[in-house]
Symmetry: D3
Subunit: 308 residues, 6 copies
């Protein structure tokens, strides 16, 4: 993009990097809605956050023979009163989204909650789900590794629900209430583990406590408030949360000791790996091996002639 000195420029943009300097303003690398890259200068007193979308009002200036945009106004869109379609347009322009039908997923997940037969399981699950629902459909499932994009958490949960259908058919001794409620709750406190849904970083709480214990706490507090603190249902759901990573060195203080917890571990593990694998194979040419895949012990996978 070519601006002339003194031109006024107004636009939405995502801050990619903030460069602190000895000048009385600092330079931010900003991506515009059409993909262009510009340098925006923010006054030293201002505060901006990487990976957030801002509305900028700027003036083009000459800075060491290059055009920089000096911001007179900069406002995060989260604090603006924008039309819903504008918000969606901006989000889609600036962020990567999980590749799935979000409304269909939400419908399916809420139907599963509605169909829970045990009143206690339903009450606990619904209460926690409602508390976090807004963030649940925005947050990623990880800051890196698997499902690290907007709505990754819901995408992952939805795939697990679908896989669970198959397991419940083959193994009739499994209780479907615990399986579906466990899946829906298992990662829900990741919204507390990360500081935002875009460009997530771990919070201090996320690092010191972690989403597994935060999930367990959430059930304990909710059960207490619902008068269910001594219920078997609260205990079983809490156990599912605690054990879904299976091994202690992956963060689980308990191994699964009920069948439903074991199945949820299998499904969680399989989905977190297969989704990444599918994405990596897409980037690989037929007849070649993928890059080493972190979640798959750094193995490289062949894209063979039958790979789609």
């Amino acid at each position: 993009m070519n601006y002339e000195v003194n031109q006024e420029v107004t636009f939405f943009g995502r801050i990619d990097q903030v460069n602190v300097s000895t000048y009385d303003s600092y330079a931010c690398n900003v991506t515009c809605e059409d993909g262009d890259k510009v340098i925006v200068r923010i006054p030293e007193s201002g505060e901006v956050n990487v990976n957030k979308i801002y509305y900028f009002e700027t003036l083009a200036i000459n800075f060491k023979d290059r055009i920089h945009l000096q911001a007179s106004k900069f406002q995060p869109i989260a604090k603006m009163d924008l039309a819903e379609e504008v918000k969606i347009r901006l989000m889609q322009a600036f962020y990567t989204y999980a590749p799935f039908d979000l409304p269909a997923a939400r419908k399916e997940i809420e139907e599963k909650i509605a169909q829970l037969k045990s009143p206690e399981i339903k009450l606990i699950t619904e209460t926690i789900y409602r508390k976090f629902a807004d963030d649940f459909y925005l947050y990623p499932a990880a800051t890196k590794f698997h499902h690290a994009y907007i709505s990754g958490l819901a995408y992952h949960t939805y795939s697990m629900v679908k896989l669970a259908d198959g397991y419940l058919k083959v193994y009739p001794f499994l209780n479907s209430d615990l399986v579906y409620a466990g899946i829906i709750l298992h990662d829900v406190t990741k919204v507390l583990e990360f500081d935002s849904y875009e460009g997530s970083e771990y919070t201090v709480k996320g690092r010191l406590i972690g989403h597994i214990t935060l999930g367990s706490n959430e059930i304990a507090i909710t059960a207490k408030e619902l008068g269910l603190e001594n219920s078997e249902e609260a205990m079983l759901l809490e156990h599912i949360i605690l054990s879904h990573h299976y091994y202690g060195n992956f963060g689980s203080p308990k191994k699964p000791n009920i069948a439903e917890a074991l199945v949820i571990h299998f499904i969680d593990d399989a989905d977190s790996k297969l989704t990444v694998l599918g994405e990596e194979l897409e980037k690989t040419k037929t007849g070649e091996f993928s890059q080493p895949i972190g979640v798959l012990e750094k193995e490289r996978y062949l894209k063979h002639k039958y790979s789609k």
Copy 2:
């Protein structure tokens, strides 16, 4: 059962134990078709095998104040010309069977083979399947651990086929031919690893080579005979066999490096554990923990109030 001395007794029975002694005959613990336990004395020159069904013609004798049945004739039913329904009746009386609908499973498995789209995959799979089909529906999947009963191998394979349906729906990048062919072939050489379908023991070949390499060899030999020794299909199927236990210390010389091999590993692992878990929970009272389960790292599982 009370026999009188000198009474002639004729019956089918399964030999449970052979006790060698200093007498000129040895005493066998035998279970009769109605569950009764008797002692049958076999002449020193005879040879009988534990866990096989025999037809006995005997005479009741007094042996140290107890009634023993002195065998004048004993013949394994495998060498007799019995009507099919008699054979089935005897098998069901004396052995534990996998708890599934075998004809339905056979139909499903053979349909999956018939529906394979790749001519090379179909040719290799069908050739090997036909070679082993008779034993495939009789052998267990293990001598102990998971699916250790008659037809356990087919039962396990059938459950895996059903689980695969679900995975193929959720992950469209997977090739269904490789998944179904891989599942059907993955354990087929267990019929060479064990010495018989009843009361199986490992053969020397099973111990020195193992079903994984035997399966790999089978594909290599079959591919060569079909002129497919340099085909990508033979290589991919062989890789699936080799890698289905994932880790070297569980017998796999290669980790999965194609997506279909990884999925088959997940499904194999899940089914071998969940089937045992279901059986153990059946033996457990509600509110109590199961015995430590070998295939599940000796963990005990709770039969909670929602367990069926």
Copy 3:
């Protein structure tokens, strides 16, 4: 003790074993206050618990040429209205006690709480301590392994407090509030993990959730009720609880990430091992090696000539 048939015998005793039989009563091995062993027969309809103290009213009978005491009345002392000094006498007669000055320990622990400087840490700690204080001074620290006797939990906590004094002197960057509060709370939910203070067994909740997560839940609930759910203090205390076993395979979902948590882990680990070691050496002759010690990787320790 020799009783005559038809003699009436009344006494306090601890049930050591319950032998179920085909008779309409079952035989219990019971230890009397003076150490004698008797057989007490309880009607089939009765219910007694191993390791509890009962008051028995019995009649001596001849049972297969031995004297058994047929109980007409049997009542657990926990449900009786006994004078405090009688209770203490009975407890000391029948149970093993931690070898320490309990009132002094209680005084010291409560002083440490009283001296906490941070109002938030003090509030959380005091609230939880008061809730569990009665059981805290009765429960063991484990069902086997270290401090497996009455008051073992308090004994262990008290020793840790004393060791902490030394560490705080050498490392001035440590915060004493977090160290003392963390020590006092670190194992307090063991009173929920075990079903009773005498002859403890793990509860279902203890097995599925565990004292580490139960402790974390307790802080989360308490902090919420005190309006401190977003306080750094609650988070730090919870982190200390979560990380005090250090490794995931010992039950900690997080490794220590604050200095005070690391010190508490060191002190906890040292005390749980050294206390057992001291007890084992007491049973060993000078110049010989102890039995293999479970908590010390089954090593045998030499009682050398300088060992006390």
Copy 4:
């Protein structure tokens, strides 16, 4: 080397690197027979392989002020009809060779085969050896790690044969036929695992199947063709191949279960490490430590005053 523009230059050279660019030709780094380095430009339509020797006919051109050689003809020597002594001269000029007397090694290895006493072992070993013999004396034993030079495979095999002589003298219970045949066959399918003997890369088959299973397949196929598929000899040789890396995580699906397999593992392991160690010490000054040695757990070895 200094060429003038328009000079015609004809020579043999080894391609070291191919640099793709936006020009209609790409620049290759080429080493000449006398060690000189030149840049050869190949037309975009041409195809050349790194580490292979080519015959070049070129014209010197000026390319950005440097002399490049524009190739009008380039032909891999493998496709030329060169005299044997020319081929040997070129191979020795361009490649690193194993430091041993190859004809002596070949003579020794073929004598060992000729002296095999068991007709079955001899037949299987000779058949496979003849099939691969040409490549066997050219291929390296690895792409990196141990014996990674031309004829490395034969050099390694020959050293193992010599070490075996010593073991057979000390342990008379070992069968020499199995030891020698096993050594000769143990790595022979490395010629299938690598794509060429010079500058080897792993083939897809090498990565998905691996030389251990390929060796096992080779014996199975050969035994079948010789009518020895059920022979104990084929099974024992296959077991030796499968187990020679000992541990699953080093690629062996079975641990050694016959004495000869164990000895071959010891000898294989020792030679692969000691040969590298000797080479590393040669590069080290007396009194100093070598570089960390990959095959020796990254340990550094001292070249002491007695090291030769």
Copy 5:
């Protein structure tokens, strides 16, 4: 053997077990020179050691309807002045010996020492060898595991020397002085680690310090006494001793960092396993698998048709 009451019985015997009782004498199970088993009663005041040979003068008595031999005199042969051939006869009657030609081994080992070229290595090696030579040819190499019989230490050392010959031929960079001296010294302090050559038990020093450090100390002390405490030779020999078990969890505080130490580790490891394997196969029938072998990770080895 049948003795009559009051018969005087005089004989040599090995004490197999000492049974302490409440009588004023205790009963010892004793094996006689001809293999017979008798009970000898020793006065309470006497002291006897298991697995040692004694000369007994006894009187046959009736003890609870069995014949016991009441000892009036019992003397360990180590304290008697017996002719050399009598001692040898008794040792061979009562103990298991290593199956090798001891004088040949001693000759070979001493020749290796005599041929050491480095004066420093020779001086250190000879000094330590002479100090321990008597015990060196009597002690076992272990109390259980490998070479656990009289002269096992010398047998093991001798086999290692023979294997070393082969390695020195194949790898000319190895220094033969360090290899032979290292082998001869590597286990020599096992004579301090065990309390006697017959029926060895670990000494307290053996358990707290161990033969590896004792060997290192021996070299350090010897070097100091010879004025060689700062010599490279003493350091290299000490390093060989320290590293011959390779891994820390097998007792080596350092991994090998000179080539000779690595070779000695290989040879030590191979001989300790192959010798046991040979002995186990001798006890196994052709076509069967051996018992699980402790030193070989509990693997069972097949005695195949070519096994000798």
Copy 6:
């Protein structure tokens, strides 16, 4: 610092790096007493050591347009006859010191030795202490990792002595002589493991033998010279040295098997970690996490609001 060409410059400086070149002198990066950095050129024939302090007499020259100082004289201060206060001034200017009161520590350590009750323990400890005392108060405790500064070894030992006081109060079965003597001796041979107290590198002896075995050797030699070679005291002290790293893979050939050795391991481990942790937290801002800490499994620690 600005020098003019031909200016004579005389100063003390620490050599930070020696750059070898093709000129007849090489350039050294030198830090001056006031922190300035200069380039000093040393004649090719000279020999200087990195991290040592030298006295330089130089002439400023122009070297490729920069000022270098051509040395006509350079002498390590260790070989100069300087006043004590000058030496101390220089040491403090050029090196990092352990942050503790060294004279107080020395007094405390020597008092502990003076108070040892066992004559044998005292004699051995005092003899070794005196032999190494000068270096003991100068050497670091490591070349990197924990206590890697001048006097680090004494600082570490002193902190351990203070922690020991606390343990001895809580666990009365511990022998204070062994604990204090063990602490004082446990790392003393690090003065042999490193080549100097400033800028330490491992010596060859340090790498091949290590301070643990060197410590054991020292006790063995000392005990022999004192006539205590068979004393229990020498054995116990040696065992403490050998086992203070606990695990074989951390260099200990024996795990602790006496109580005092276990306590010393605990204290050593805690101090080596907590000291580093304190230093890292000092560099960290409140509310942030430290850098990953090597001795703490690369964990990052939070500097929370209560951290000092």
